[in-house]
């Protein structure tokens, strides 16, 4: 399993990205706290980002993959701002952020 896990191998970076993606997926699937779900989404985005930069480094050698990684980081920042604002609004209305307790679209 660990053979070939070195900083010079593409597959080791892809493995780290896959592990982060899967942990993020697990977090999104199991957590009932909306903020934890957002943390899981951040893990997923980071796992995908590692793949972008790794392929850019080993695959093409130009900076296109890094540009996409920067776009993903920027969209993650926008997503976190809007997502957490929604979480705060939900907390003000329902006094909980349990995603299963929030059942109505309006108070």
């Amino acid at each position: 399993m660990l053979s070939g896990f070195s900083p010079n191998e593409l597959s080791s970076y892809l493995t780290i990205g896959a592990i982060l993606f899967t942990l993020g997926l697990f977090t999104v699937l199991t957590r009932r706290n909306a903020i934890s779900v957002l943390m899981g989404v951040e893990l997923i985005l980071n796992g995908a980002n590692i793949n972008y930069v790794a392929f850019s480094h080993f695959g093409s050698g130009n900076a296109d993959g890094q540009i996409y990684a920067i776009f993903v980081i920027m969209l993650a920042a926008a997503e976190a701002a809007v997502g957490l604002a929604i979480v705060l609004a939900i907390f003000q209305i329902f006094h909980t952020i349990d995603v299963e307790a929030v059942e109505t679209l309006r108070e």
């Binding site: 899967t22 993020g24 199991t30 930069v53 050698g61 540009i67 776009f71 920027m74 993650a76 920042a77």
Partner: protein, 166 residues
Amino acid sequence: MDLSTAVFYLVAIITVGSALMVAFSRNIIYSAFSLLGTFAGIAGIYVFLGADFVAGVQLLIYVGGILVLILFAVMLTHRITDVQITNRAAGRIPALIITGVFIYLLIQTIRETSWVKVKEVVFQPTTAKIGDLFLDSYLLPFELASLVLLAALIGAVVISRKEIKE
């Protein structure tokens, strides 16, 4: 094992270990602070991939921005007395089965594909290249990004302000 390989192992262990904490910790404060280790470790991985600018952006935006935002949200929404139950998890066993199958397939694919690689991997400063690309072939997405950020900023303010009831 030379020094850089040892550092790479350390960075990988920090990244994956903190991500495990995020996924499995029972206390949401621990989860939020473990994200710090994950984000910093990923910045280290970017350094190993020769992406100096992306590593800096990762530290500035993720650690300096998103993490602080998440910590603020945690502090503002959870009641201190319910620390033990605030980070409840449901349906762990089905999720473990699904993600277990998923990670097995992903790692099998990664190990069995023969990836095409460039002959010579180069390490050189990327900031100038990225700046050129942003103002040349990626100009339209770059401008759209500013619009998206403006919309997100206004949206976040509108959504999170207190509604005044008549």
